[in-house]
Symmetry: C2
Subunit: 365 residues, 2 copies
DNA sequence: GGAAAAATCGCAATCGGTTGCATGTTGCTC
DNA sequence: GAGCAACATGCAACCGATTGCGATTTTTCC
């Protein structure tokens, strides 16, 4: 930037406008305000931050100028001298997924209430991207970094990724919605196990015994926990676990659709299926309809997440809800508390609620 | 921040770790690198930015240290002296809406490729929020601000909002996906009129004449354009426009559902309905099913946006697609070009493609 | 009324970079 | 080998805030 002629704090000229073309106004600084108010920049800074004594008369004089010029302090400069930028960096696996969108929103709202700003980035689940963005946030000196889904959940690539995160943790607190072993970061996550329990209990109460589980990769922590619980609960009831009923895959429509088609290839089909999430459930619904059966009369379908998808399918889905506002708030609060060295609980799990809608019913004979 | 003892650029100590507790590492700066490399900070800066001559030997010496310490230049400091932060601020109406999510993602990907970072904020359509966030971005000195949907589309509150935006435009380029009259900001938007034309032609080709339009507020620019085209095309065909067939409302599931129920209250029902977007279409589908009719046999349903929703409904929706990657790229490129004073086209419209799926068919008798 | 305590407020350093200017160095040309 | 352009590199100012220190003014209290 070219140095401005004269010393700091030149006079504030009239807003620039030149023969039709918009001209950038000179950005005004505390020096400008200070000069016009006849005080020192320090004083302006003090009325800005508010935590110091300034004589009433001067305070008002300065405040008026601030209002008059619609002055906003430069966050970069502030961050530079403060070491606190009051900003959080979020890396989300895929913001198009309604689950992440909901969490992000809640998180962002909470952060905002606490006076923090949020930067978002989508990793699209590519590791390089994720690491790259974490670096970018580090450059920007965000006070904390939040990882929504993505690699934090993946037990396989976990090792090398954890390595990187571990490195980052040494300079910036990191909170993840998954589990990263032996890494000093905060974890705030859904109690996947409890959610599965609710779903299974619900199905049992309807007399289901042949229950399938479709979608999700077992190397993802939350999915693994779900499977563990699924398996355990069948055993508790003395029901033989049928390996063919567990079809792993992804977390989208197609995975649900393909998975259910696989199920239909079996000689004995289940009376109920648990989808890994609402998204997959929609694919499952489609497959069932295409096979000429109906939900829940022939087959019950339940899923996780209670995103808005579960209300717009036909039939509406029975799912588990997480109170997104609460979830998001916990994430934001944890991140901020960590940023402010208030040592938050390093591991928080949030509960779930069963939401019964139309897609589940008594087991067919 | 407490001043560090000694002069600038103390020696780099070993990574801090203390009886189990993680300790923040000292953040290293170009001064540290400079000292250890035995050169001046200017030189380090020069190898960092790359656009200056540095003797090969020194360049390598510095580069090695940068790698060794995994040094990342402080973006705040850089932004302070540069006046370019290479960051964009995005204010989205509601990121949970798959349309905005898709646009945002595309936009973000494009910006990233161009070396820019993105900050996101959700206005949830509340004006104060929107203005407040714009201010926040201004403080952060983002090089440009992008407004996705929200108030930029609203013709009513437009006046006062435009006032504010006009103010912002004087310091930061603004690009909107709508239309803001008499405001010096860039507009990149869907050709809503063309999209409607494709939908109507498609329906006409199936012999439909009694066509309803459900959802959307006429005081929103894009919706108004759609309605204008809808109306004009009926007239072209010499079809009398039935006022009761135009049911305005919101842009969500409920609006579609309620709107369609209203239609069913009429004595003569339409043979086809155009939903304001995929979201509303899902509600319409529900209403039709509940009335014991089927799509598209009894009624055809078409909509706008081609979000992933249109593929997971039963039946899958016929909609208009926008090539989101292209759309997002245009937005990002416009914003960046403006930021770099390269005067981009102030008004760009992106075309649409009809995607025929299962929800439309011949008019029933 | 006078002294100590408290409130004001400016100076100047600092955060971590970038860059114009000035001062060498090198390399080329003839 | 002289002359000159291009290259290298350091110094110091600057971006726009914050803040400790110390000087000055007010208040408060006996």
């Amino acid at each position: 930037m070219k140095p401005v002629a004269g010393t700091r704090g030149a006079l504030i000229g009239p807003a620039g406008q030149e023969n039709g073309y918009v001209m950038k106004d000179k950005t005004i600084t505390i020096y400008d305000i200070a000069q016009e108010a006849g005080v020192s920049p320090s004083t302006v800074s003090r009325v800005l931050t508010g935590n110091a004594h300034v004589r009433r008369e001067k305070r008002e004089r300065v405040q008026n100028l601030i209002d008059k010029y619609n002055f906003v302090p430069n966050a970069l400069a502030k961050g530079l001298s403060d070491t606190m930028t009051r900003s959080l960096g979020v890396v989300a696996a895929d913001i198009r997924n309604p689950f992440y969108a909901a969490v992000f929103m809640a998180c962002e709202q909470a952060a905002e209430r606490l006076g923090y700003t949020i930067g978002l980035f989508n990793s699209l689940n590519r590791v390089e991207n994720e690491e790259e963005q974490i670096e970018k946030f580090r450059q920007q000196k965000t006070d904390a970094i939040i990882l929504l889904g993505g690699r934090v959940d993946d037990l396989v690539t976990n090792t090398q990724f954890a390595e990187h995160v571990r490195d980052v943790c040494r300079t910036t607190p990191v909170v993840v919605t998954g589990k990263l072993d032996r890494t000093p970061c905060y974890s705030v996550r859904i109690d996947a196990s409890a959610a599965m329990r609710q779903l299974m209990d619900h199905l049992f109460s309807f007399g289901h015994e042949r229950i399938a589980m479709i979608g999700g990769r077992l190397d993802v922590t939350s999915t693994y926990e779900k499977y563990q619980t699924y398996s355990a609960m069948l055993h508790e009831r003395g029901i033989r676990e049928n390996g063919e009923y567990v079809v792993s895959g992804g977390y989208d429509y197609q995975s649900g659709y393909d998975g259910m088609n696989r199920i239909f290839a079996l000689r004995e089909r289940p009376t109920a299926v648990v989808a890994i999430n609402d998204f997959a459930a929609t694919g499952i619904l489609r497959s069932i309809i295409e096979h000429g059966l109906s939900v829940p009369d022939d087959i019950s379908v339940v899923s996780f997440d209670n995103t808005y998808l579960s209300e717009l399918t036909i039939p509406k889905l029975t799912t588990t809800d997480y109170d997104y506002d609460h979830f998001g708030r916990l994430i934001a609060e944890t991140a901020i508390a960590a940023a402010e060295h208030r040592e938050p609980d390093p591991e928080v799990r949030v509960g779930t609620t069963l939401v019964v809608r139309e897609s589940s019913g008594p087991a067919s004979v």
